[in-house]
């Protein structure tokens, strides 16, 4: 693969992870974003392109609207390394983005709007 010339881009590097098995390139996420940080992929059905990652304020609306549940919102590394919790009984420490995380907690919010 060719090595391209790129300008240096400040953080964040990746704000969204698209599940390749689920994303059908419907662009609902593109059109949900009020800051317009994505553009459709020129290839029909391809996953959208994140063009203005730094303008994302991490509201998560695109994740909520994705009809295929293909999106994961990725906090910046500085936010992942600072969001820490401790298991009270064992003293173990965890954080967002850790290696070998514990099982996800699937407890839903209360109420009916989820």
């Amino acid at each position: 693969m060719a090595t391209f010339s790129y300008p240096s881009i400040a953080e964040p590097s990746r704000i969204l992870l698209f599940d390749k098995d689920k994303c059908v390139g419907c662009n609902v996420c593109v059109n949900t974003c009020s800051s317009d940080v994505m553009i459709p992929n020129p290839e029909k059905g391809g996953e959208p392109i994140v063009l203005f990652a730094e303008e994302c304020w991490f509201c998560g609306s695109c994740v909520q609207e994705c009809p295929h549940k293909a999106l994961t919102l990725i906090p910046t590394a500085s936010q992942r390394i600072s969001t820490i919790w401790r298991r009270k009984a064992t003293g173990e420490e965890f954080r967002m983005g850790m290696l070998d995380p514990p099982e996800p907690n699937t407890t839903p919010p209360v109420g009916r709007n989820h």
């Binding site: 800051s35 303008e55 304020w57 609306s61 969001t83 298991r87 965890f94 967002m96 099982e103 009916r112």
Partner: protein, 668 residues
């Protein structure tokens, strides 16, 4: 995928995906135009449409989720007329005035008190859950068994509600669209049109640019509701970094304040602007991701690293022993007015929320407690834990996905875990707030806290006929989410009545041409300054000439900003309509700065209440300066007027809150 991944994969740069037509005109006519389609704008549009007029909304983003209230809400303030409340609209309005030393919008606070509960009930009819229908919080201090309402802050007086507001924006947007309101999205509105194109006259429309196509929009209307948001890019060196922002996305540049100022509307309290952490752009912790005890997290049990319990205290500094006391006023004659309603620097702490032990920082430094601190969810009773994590956090703006879902996806389990605080021993740690990102870099200037905005009358009409002002920001002294919906709903009604009684007026072509000439500069003149660099430069000027306050410094600020606008401003470039809209926002930020400086020049005195301290006029809060100073631009220059803080109870108005409300509220 990321942009560079696409390039690596295909060997090509992606072309701009939308057809671009810079300058192509679209003319949109309606009875009422709403500028800003957040919760206030949607409620204004719904209420105007209910009154039988045609309505158009121009929004910067995508109305289903846009705006400061677009990501959700957990508290509903000002529902003082709910059947359980012991607070009256008079008490609510009077206390708001009292704790802010008179520097808030007493008329708007009363309107909010009168209509906040009705506004919420309508929201329930639209489909939003506002009650604990399943009884999940049965037999708790927060629930009323009959109405199933859940209370926050004050379980005795019951005027502030906990609601299930994560999907509030989809609900109001759906209702609005079902009523035939026409919505134009991705429009960067940059000017108001005035009669004969003259500053200080009736408002008859607006203009804007689409950030995908670059096309120009001319909105003509008989009445206009301004329902825009706050902003923070004016003072930020990294305005493009928004990951640490709790309530202010990058689109928010106080555009409503600025276009009202440019049209000649009177502005007040704009001089009350101080740097704030966390609410604006910049780098910081993920908002709401850190342990704390404020607002959304109020009632969380806190321990230190050795699991030593940290007690709460009331506003008298008395340490509390029972959970219920956290949600009670220290003095039974008072009530807890709550956080997040835009009342800064309270004159008295009597109505404040409870915090942790105010001596906490001292006790950390002396070794009595050891860092880090934690929110000990695991040590809380199940319902106490769930009402914070599974209700408030899961509903609050910008929390459902980035905090609730993300932390749980990484295994966070509040029934077993404790959430770490930011490591700090600063004096404010006992009252650490949940929406802020403390230690954020850089500090930014946000208008949201201090409540400067457009001066209004009892109809929430500005000094310009036909321009009504709603929402938590452009309307001076008005509050937060519930208040935005309530004032939006009220303004929609007022604008509809105005539109029925006033004929349409054709805008002056010269005003439109002047606006077009300016806003398309970055794609017609071929410059070499990008918007990021220009935004940082205007932040440099604003920081330099705002932090230190003297008449000469303000004057120099005005000169330096005009220089920047004339020189580098005319050399801005934009590669596509998206960047063009950002550049236009930067132009308006230079205008906004002049509004701040002119407002500052008008106040020849210092004020702790306003957070406004001048070197050349050091006397603080002198009685002769205890007043509003409505400042406006006219064709001849800047005009300053005086208005007492209780102007809404003086000539030409009636002498009581309620009589004025009945006279002006346009009740059906």
């Amino acid at each position: 995928m990321n942009w560079h991944e696409y390039v690596n994969k295909t060997g090509k740069l992606p072309e701009w995906p939308y057809e671009v037509n810079y300058g192509k005109e679209n003319v949109i006519e309606s009875d009422v135009l709403v500028v800003g389609g957040g919760v206030a704008g949607c409620r204004a549009a719904i209420s105007a449409a209910q009154h039988g007029v045609s309505v158009v909304v121009a929004d910067r983003g995508f109305v289903k989720h846009s705006g400061q209230g677009g990501a959700g809400v957990d508290h509903w303030h000002g529902a003082v007329r709910n059947p359980c409340s012991k607070i009256t609209p008079e008490m609510y309005s009077d206390v708001a005035m009292q704790v802010s030393g008179g520097y808030t919008n007493g008329a708007a606070r009363y309107i909010i008190g009168m209509e906040g509960w009705d506004t919420l009930l309508e929201l329930e009819q639209m489909g939003l859950q506002i009650r604990d229908e399943e009884g999940e919080f049965k037999d708790t201090i927060w629930r009323d068994e009959e109405t199933k309402l859940l209370f926050a802050y004050d379980v005795d007086n019951k005027h502030c509600l906990r609601i299930y507001g994560n999907n509030v924006k989809p609900v109001v947007a759906r209702e609005m669209l079902s009523m035939g309101v026409k919505v134009y999205e991705r429009i960067c509105v940059s000017s108001l049109l005035t009669e004969n194109g003259v500053k200080g006259t009736r408002v008859i429309g607006a203009t804007g640019v689409n950030d995908r196509t670059g096309e120009f929009y001319i909105f003509k209307a008989k009445a206009v509701v301004l329902a825009t948001g706050g902003g923070s890019r004016l003072g930020s060196f990294a305005p493009f970094m928004t990951s640490g922002s709790a309530m202010t996305d990058i689109n928010l540049v106080n555009m409503g304040h600025t276009i009202a100022w440019n049209a000649g509307a009177e502005m007040v309290m704009m001089e009350a602007l101080t740097p704030e952490f966390g609410m604006g752009t910049g780098l910081g912790y993920a908002p709401y991701s850190m342990g704390n005890t404020d607002n959304t997290y109020q009632g969380a049990r806190v321990v230190d690293t050795n699991l030593k319990y940290v007690p709460y205290a009331n506003t008298k500094g008395e340490l509390l022993t029972e959970e219920k006391q956290i949600f009670q006023a220290a003095d039974p004659d008072k009530f807890v007015i709550g956080h997040g309603i835009g009342l800064a620097t309270p004159v008295t702490s009597d109505y404040n929320v409870t915090t942790l032990d105010p001596k906490l920082a001292e006790k950390i430094r002396s070794g009595e407690y050891s860092l880090p601190l934690y929110d000990d969810f695991a040590g809380m009773p199940e319902k106490s834990r769930k009402i914070i994590w599974n209700l408030m956090l899961a509903q609050e703006g910008k929390c459902r996905v980035p905090i609730f879902e993300n932390l749980q996806a990484w295994g966070f389990d509040p029934s077993q875990d404790m959430l770490q605080y930011a490591i700090s021993a600063d004096n404010g740690i006992h009252a650490r707030t949940s929406w802020l990102a403390p230690e954020q870099t850089p500090k930014t200037w946000v208008s949201t806290k201090r409540q400067g905005g457009v001066f209004t009358d009892w109809r929430l009409q500005s000094s310009l006929p036909g321009l009504f002002v709603a929402g938590g920001n452009p309307l001076f002294g008005s509050g937060c989410h519930g208040e935005a919906q309530t004032t939006g709903r009220y303004c929609g009604r007022q604008a509809a009545v105005f539109a029925k009684n006033h004929p349409a007026v054709e805008p002056e072509r010269g005003q439109i041409d002047r606006e077009k000439d300016e806003v398309y500069t970055p794609v017609t003149k071929g410059g070499d300054v990008g918007w990021h660099e220009f935004n940082a430069a205007l932040a440099r000027v604003f920081q330099d000439y705002w932090n230190v306050k003297t008449e000469e410094i303000f004057d120099r600020g005005l000169i330096r900003m005009a220089d920047l606008r004339r020189t580098e401003g005319n050399r801005m470039y934009a590669n596509n309509p998206h960047e063009l809209a950002r550049a236009i926002e930067c132009y308006r930020l230079t205008d906004l700065a002049s509004c701040y400086w002119q407002s500052a020049k008008a106040r020849k005195g210092s004020s702790k209440l306003l957070g406004f301290m001048r070197i050349d006029y050091p006397n603080v809060d002198e009685p002769e300066w205890h007043k509003f100073l409505p400042v406006s631009q006219t064709e001849k220059g800047v005009s300053v007027r005086e208005a007492p803080c209780d102007y809404y109870l003086r000539d030409p108005y009636l002498t009581t809150l309620h009589d004025n409300y009945v006279k002006y509220a346009e009740l059906d």
